[in-house]
Symmetry: C2
Subunit: 378 residues, 2 copies
Amino acid sequence: MPEFFPQGFRHLAVTAGIKKSGLDLGLIVSDRPATAAAVFTKNAFPAAPVLVSRQNLLDSGHVLRAVLVNAGNANACNGEEGLAVARTCAAQLAGRLGCSPAEVFIASTGVIGRPLPAEKICGALPGLISASCDIAEFSRAIMTTDTFPKIASSESGGVRIMGFAKGSGMIHPNMATMLSFIITDAKIDFPILDKALRHAVDRSFHSITVDGDTSTNDTVVVLANGASGITPNPEAFTAELMDVCQRLAKAIARDGEGASKFVELTVEGAPSDEAAREIARCVARSPLVKTAIYGSDPNWGRLVCAVGNSGVALANDQIEIYIDNVSMIHGDLDAAQRRMREKEIKLRIVLHSGAGMATVWTCDFTEGYIRINADYTS
Amino acid sequence: MPEFFPQGFRHLAVTAGIKKSGLDLGLIVSDRPATAAAVFTKNAFPAAPVLVSRQNLLDSGHVLRAVLVNAGNANACNGEEGLAVARTCAAQLAGRLGCSPAEVFIASTGVIGRPLPAEKICGALPGLISASCDIAEFSRAIMTTDTFPKIASSESGGVRIMGFAKGSGMIHPNMATMLSFIITDAKIDFPILDKALRHAVDRSFHSITVDGDTSTNDTVVVLANGASGITPNPEAFTAELMDVCQRLAKAIARDGEGASKFVELTVEGAPSDEAAREIARCVARSPLVKTAIYGSDPNWGRLVCAVGNSGVALANDQIEIYIDNVSMIHGDLDAAQRRMREKEIKLRIVLHSGAGMATVWTCDFTEGYIRINADYTS
């Protein structure tokens, strides 16, 4: 797909020595103040960068000039010291950019509970600011266990949107160990931008699951700097933003730790869209469903079980399950099994309790997931 | 441990040909009407035996003469036909025992969505009723992927309690793919028996998790036939019943599919006991926590993350985590890792938001779980 670069942004990356090797410090700078909206983790123990960035957005009136992100260390569970480190990094960068510290957004990803050395980040800032501009390098700098960088962009009516994401493990609504940075040159007010982001995130990052865990650091932030001079129609802008977010979210599910298959799961006929999403998430996170998919086993009983475990009250027990257009329940199991062997699987669960519908994306559960996660910090 | 056989019960088992091989049909008969209480799955798609047994208990006024259980086929998602099969089996057995069909309790475990052949079960009934009595054979007849039979018993003040369970995969509150049959010769009224069972189940079968999935067939039933002639003190009886249930529940967690380690997890300082149990369950079901335990990785950040994902509101973010008595957060990680390598692990999470406390039991998550579940029906 072609890439569309929003005007007035620079992407920078350097090696700051936080990870054992490779790029680990990224920066997005807007050449003018940008309207910004963000969605953060709902975890009860949000990391220091989440707390600092949330406060910065309030203090700056939702205006940002820069996003600073490191990989290799989550700066989570580090108490007051962690907050001080995040604030120091933001202040130092603000000084170099000539903006307010509140106009700097901080994000971190990596191991929890290890002190993040502020001096490494601050020491790398001069080199970072003068680094050459390369979105591929930026997107590599935010990776942890990701196996490929995740970038999506679109252009509509002269307005460009580009998004970056990192994911891999601990992915579940809401947005576990997931960071996404989205930039646009649209000229747009905060209330509309905020509403558009929440709509898009619900139907993208909140609709994927890898292992059902959510992290202390999840963050999605969008910066709209108005450099195009164009104020888009809100509905059209929301649709474009959702498309970019969905492409990033699907890339995250596809790159789930150890994943060998990508699954699109749609639930229809639920009491409401929200109920459909709840059921779909419950099925998509079931280890028994995910291992059956890995084993190409058309064991639809596990899908029924998972639907029944969602806690959603259904009007009756009628249920149909399709893989592509093949009925799985008392259907042609040979044809179903052939489709289960594909690398991309489309499952559809049809209930008879209303008009609610939702789609989620997930991956299978393999020995690779166990191996990756049984030996991560050590 | 010595085994205590309640008076007035017989245990029988035969091979009915429902599984590919081995014992697969078990029967418990009381020589007199027994007061009975049961707890069933909360899955929205309860299996036919669950629906039939729940109705039978109501119809008989909570009196049972027999429990008939098959392995190899769950008789779930089989619609009206499944209900008819369960009712036929109960009626045929009742005819042979000379009791009302409502006094027969039916349970099934195995693959979902395959017709259960009534003729195989009914054909095996004559042999079953005249089989030789052996509790070891009975407990093997109810196994699916279990690797060892689960029996626990106790005696107190002349009253005996004995319980049987099968578990292995799909184990999570509430009681996934878990069957337990408990017999006692106590003389006890239904309201007291029912209350005692619910109390015991909350603190045992509802406090274990293997993979977070729950099944269509989960059932715990207790039969009290009064053959001892002794009416126990309700509190003492409840404590004995809880002890038997906890020993069975721990055996199930220990025998989780592919498990290499057994974990006891206690949460203290939560807003309430119920909140503590919710937090403990959330931690115990986290794939990232369970893979870290498998890898002997003292990655306490994953435990903090899982606590934060429970949805329980905490008064502050103070948290301590201990393995045995070694502090994991900013503590001696070498000592913590040595303890992580043990086969039996005791974790304690201390919050500062109240006096609520709960203990749950779980196992680690290994490649073995993936292998077992990627290839189950086929």
